[in-house]
């Protein structure tokens, strides 16, 4: 699966498209990470727990996006966008969306 965030796949020709595909997940960290984060707020610096939370979530949403494109029979996703929303305290929603296409040499 080729994924890009531009309108084309360089060096290949888009022959067919299947419409929009999306992948999303909602995740929370455990209480320990939340506590550490609130302490970190005092001194500043990177919140490693939350960085990890968002990284994991982003990877999963991209994975789900790819899975959905595969189900449609695509071999590439172009123009991917990520969006994040805080849906509750300590929880984050990560979504990825793009256009599923089939490309040829």
């Amino acid at each position: 699966m080729i994924v890009t965030n531009i309108d084309s796949v360089p060096g290949k020709r888009i022959v067919e498209h299947f419409g929009i595909v999306q992948g999303s997940t909602v995740r929370a960290r455990h209480v320990g990470a939340d506590l550490a984060a609130s302490l970190k707020n005092l001194v500043g610096g990177e919140l490693k727990g939350y960085t990890k939370l968002l990284e994991d979530a982003r990877a999963e949403s991209l994975g789900r996006l790819i899975q959905q494109a595969q189900q449609l029979g695509a071999n590439a996703i172009i123009n991917i966008r990520f969006a994040t929303a805080a849906v509750a305290q300590g929880a984050a929603e990560l979504m990825a969306y793009g256009t599923a296409v089939r490309v040829e040499e």
Partner: protein, 153 residues
Amino acid sequence: MDALIYFILFIFVGYISGTIIEKKHYLDIEVREKKYLNLPAISSKNIEDESRILSANLVSGSVVISLDYFKRFLAGLRNVVGGRIHSYETLLDRSRREAVLRMKENASSMNADMILNIRFQTLGVGQKANKKGNIGCFEVVAYGTAVKLKPGT
């Protein structure tokens, strides 16, 4: 003590009604998705040859959706342990598909042939309205450019 009984009642009512509403909504979404399947909606800008485009118009679809008591409580529990919040996943999935469908309905009422450059936005609303600070209510917006194409390929 009374609070515990109310709590069990809320959870029970929330679970039953939430499950029924969700099932209904999914069935409805599936039917409408089939109906609008032939209207392409994509996130890219330049997939069409621009000379074929007759007219362009902004279209959008939005939905505000809320969680039931059971799911909100479950999310609260999940927040302690960490991990995937399943109860929010269905909510967001449903609302996003609903927003896309409303956008498509909007576009098809304009007799558009295609929607280009779709963007999504999610927003927690009503945070001030519920004093408990738990956002259980979202607005999802999908917007894009509906275009009409010259007839014939």
